[in-house]
Amino acid sequence: MTLLHSFLRANRLKQWLARPDCPPAIKECKILFDRLSSSNVATTPVASEQPLSPSHVQYDGLTYAQSRSHLGNSLILFSPDGDTAAPLVPGQIIHIFICRDSTTFWVRRYLPLEKGITDPFQPYVHVPIKLCSSKLNPTLEKVEVNWVVGHFALYPLSIEQIAVVSLSRVSCIFISNHLRSDNFPGLNIIH
């Protein structure tokens, strides 16, 4: 039982040091603690002058992957150009690049529905599901990792249409008619 208590105490100490509200003075001790601790696992990619292109990367507790590695982990909802007021866009991560601690995704966004097609999910404003085209934009666009709101689930409704289900558990995404744009039918966050 002594061994067990030591194990529990050491892990609780590690957990406390990792918390964001840990006092800065104690955090200074973490550097020494990490050196003493044998399990020194790097949680962030090693800074490098040469860009890395990993198959997957972890950010803010979530795993993002290239579509060829894991399609489910490559489906993201993001704010275009980092504009949080703009409607969210669903896309698929094609490439991941890490350079000097900054992570960027190269993404192809899903095209909007063709005009004249009714979205059956539109009346249910509190359920963040949206119909859009199954076709991907051929142009790759650069997306910073902090522009990403979260993953989405994809259900292929037909060959031409998919249902996009937001999995964000922080934002409540509402869909409203007047926010629809020609670029993409509106997925808009209301906090």
Partner: protein, 212 residues
């Protein structure tokens, strides 16, 4: 605690092993075709790795009972997609009155699914609390009109107290029962030969894993 209420509500009102009956006892909602459609959605939906996927044989005895987390995934992802594609705008029905009836049941069920979504978010605002309250009142208020054979349960009553708890304690994540659900799952999976001894150590380690 909050989400557990909803999961029980879902269980009692949406996925019943016996089909529902309309007031005139002519329209069935929980048919085999509906279950097959939900299973198809479960199979074809692409999810990230952090979501727990419910069993593909959902609705059949071989699938076993779903965990609370799997019910949550069903309520937030699979059921809305399945029900809207079956009964929503653009769906085909042999008679118009059947379509209208299905649409009413869909709108009613979507109120519950909206409430589950709103209450489970990690940030709470006054607007979200009032939206939840509105959805839940509509759902509970119209339950017996649409499903006369259903009965009011204590959970229906308790779900209407959740807005008060949200105001007092904040997001349900900080006071829900999922840590206990996890503990129950770990205890159920513990191998045992029905002999006493060494059990305490295992439980301590399990508790530590939950605390992390």
């Amino acid at each position: 605690m909050g989400e557990c209420f909803f999961l029980v509500l879902l269980f009692t009102n949406i996925i019943q092993t016996k089909p529902w009956h309309a007031p005139d006892h002519s329209i069935k909602y929980g048919t085999t075709a509906v279950i097959h459609h939900i299973q198809h959605i479960l199979e074809k939906t692409i999810l990230p790795s952090w979501i727990s996927k419910p069993p593909l044989k959902f609705g059949e005895a071989s699938a076993g009972s779903l965990t609370a987390d799997e019910w949550r995934t069903m309520a937030l992802v699979h059921l809305p997609v399945a029900l809207v594609t079956l009964w929503g705008e653009g769906s085909q029905h042999p008679y118009s009155y059947i379509g209208e009836k299905h649409r009413k049941v869909l709108d009613h069920t979507m109120k519950l699914l909206s409430a589950v979504r709103l209450a489970g978010l990690r940030t709470v605002t006054k607007n979200r609390i009032s939206a939840y309250q509105e959805c839940m009142k509509d759902y509970v208020g119209n339950l017996l009109n649409l499903h006369p054979t259903a009965s009011q349960r204590p959970n229906h009553h308790m779900s209407l107290h959740i807005p008060h708890f949200l105001q007092l304690f904040g997001p349900v994540r900080s006071w829900w029962c999922f840590p206990y659900e996890r503990l129950i799952g770990i205890l159920q999976r513990l191998p045992t030969n029905h002999k006493s001894g060494m059990f305490l150590l295992k439980v301590h380690v399990s508790n530590f894993n939950i605390a992390r």
